[in-house]
């Protein structure tokens, strides 16, 4: 009889295969029909871009995070750390980009400890695209991955469904077309560092100025062999202006019609006490 019980138990074990469970979708659709509004995902409606220049990679990003049509974060960080020599810009749903890059960053660290070598950009790329493909595009993370490893500078772009591109200049996000117009106009192979930084800055600025989903500042990260330089911010494009008037009301603005003196609790004295029996 022990054997029979063991068999019954084993048959009940469900093997999870990864990916999302869509069990609640019907319930959610029903709730939406009832008129319940769901909270909007916080997105980084973004402009992110990267270029390969002579000595390495320059990554750039704007700093606005939006929830619907409200700016929820004026100065968020979109260039995420993957490894000492690899950084990743993220566009799409903020939570998705944050957690995906953090997961890959920890996997890269484990890989580095296991192999005893500096990680390669291609490893991070493989991890990212295999992860995103498994979720069939439901993880809305569009990434620009760049870094310098033993094979040289590398720049890739990863789409939410898991496809990747290997290009000398890339842009992603809602402001990608504006930024790409700058790149297509002025990109050259083997640029100097200052030229590359100026180009990336202009591309992000084009996104910030012409795209409503991007704004605030330009962040730039320069990755060279052996060192990384983070400029946060590289340039402040939209500065919050100073309030011109003083809007505090002076004392006496509101007419006092009636005054009641409040007795402090400590001034009260207990005169009679009766404890009720439960």
């Amino acid at each position: 009889s022990n054997f029979i019980i063991k068999q019954w138990y084993q048959r009940r074990v469900v093997i999870t295969a990864g990916g999302f469970s869509f069990d609640n979708c019907r319930r959610n659709a029903f709730m939406e029909k009832q008129g319940i509004t769901f909270p909007t995902a916080r997105k980084t409606g973004t402009t992110i871009c990267g270029v390969i220049y002579k000595d390495g990679v320059v990554l750039g990003a704007d700093t606005r995070a939006t929830g619907g049509s409200i700016v929820c974060d004026l100065n968020c960080e979109k260039i995420h750390y993957i490894a000492d020599n690899i950084y990743c810009c993220g566009a799409g749903t903020a939570a998705d980009t944050e957690f995906t890059t953090r997961m890959v960053s920890s996997k890269m660290e484990l890989l580095k400890l296991r192999t005893g070598r500096e990680g390669r950009v291609i490893s991070a790329l493989r991890m990212l695209k295999q992860y995103l493909f498994r979720y069939q595009g439901y993880i809305s993370a569009a990434l620009v991955l760049g870094g310098v490893d033993v094979t040289g500078p590398a720049l890739y772009t990863v789409y939410p469904h898991g496809s990747t591109d290997k290009l000398p200049y890339v842009t992603m996000g809602s402001g990608s077309l504006a930024a790409m117009s700058v790149f297509e106009d002025r990109y050259k192979l083997n640029m100097e560092e200052e030229e590359a930084k100026a180009l990336v800055c202009d591309a992000i600025k084009a996104g910030i100025i012409n795209d409503l989903g991007s704004g605030s500042n330009v962040d730039i990260t320069v990755i060279r062999k052996g060192e990384v330089e983070v400029f946060r911010p590289y340039q402040v494009v939209c500065q919050k202006s100073q309030r011109q008037g003083d809007y505090t009301f002076p004392r006496g603005t509101t007419v006092v019609t009636n005054t009641t003196e409040m007795v402090p609790f400590s001034a009260l004295q207990v005169t009679d006490e009766e404890v009720m029996e439960l």
Partner: protein
């Protein structure tokens, strides 16, 4: 001011009939209405031809009056706005986006935009379709840096925009006309092409 012509792309695209087929590669999308106005059309070409016919008739009417006064760009812009908004209100729109480029009676440059839903405004830089995402940032930057540019500089800016549009817009062709309205002359150029540089294509290989 200058307006630019989006290359002879699939103008029937919005209808869907000729979607991705580059059926007609040599059509005129810029029309010289009179000495003070050039209009350009985006969207359904049949509707644009209809508008061109009406405008041609208007110019003839102006000539027939014989007082030497022709409708200027703001007048034509306003007329187009009325027509397009009226049609949209009757649920029978003329499926076009028209750019009106010209000068007013005082000789000052004028650039206006009218939509199929009747959206109309006047601006220094205007673009339709894909151009509003790709060319407009470039044109705005050029105008910010150099607000008083001359004809040749402006033509160069437009050519740069058209080159990038040819790189990035799938449904485009490297063939366009540039129309100029200035104090002296109003003319539409012969069709021309932008110089393209594809040397960078050798660089990327593979996707990993």
């Amino acid at each position: 001011k200058q307006w630019y012509q989006r290359r002879v792309a699939i103008t029937a695209g919005t209808l869907g009939s000729y979607g991705s087929l580059a059926r007609f590669r040599d059509i005129q999308r810029l029309m010289k209405v009179n000495d003070s106005t050039i209009i350009g059309g985006f969207g359904d070409y049949a509707d644009f031809q209809f508008l061109m016919k009406l405008l041609r008739q208007q110019t003839i009417d102006d000539e027939v009056v014989g007082d030497g006064v022709y409708r200027d760009a703001p007048a034509i812009h306003n007329w187009l706005r009325c027509v397009l908004y009226n049609r949209r209100t009757k649920f029978n729109p003329l499926w076009n986006t028209i750019v009106v480029a010209g000068k007013n009676y005082g000789g000052e440059p004028y650039l206006g935009y009218v939509d199929k839903i009747g959206v109309a405004f006047e601006e220094k830089t205007v673009a339709t379709g894909f151009g509003s995402y790709i060319a407009l940032p470039m044109m705005r930057k050029a105008m910010d840096e150099n607000p008083d540019m001359g004809v040749e500089e402006a033509k160069a800016v437009l050519k740069r925009c058209l080159r990038v549009l040819f790189y990035r817009d799938c449904r485009s062709l490297n063939r366009f006309q540039i129309g100029v309205v200035s104090a002296g002359e109003t003319s539409i150029s012969e069709p021309m092409s932008a110089d393209t540089d594809w040397s960078i294509g050798a660089n990327p290989s593979g996707y990993e």
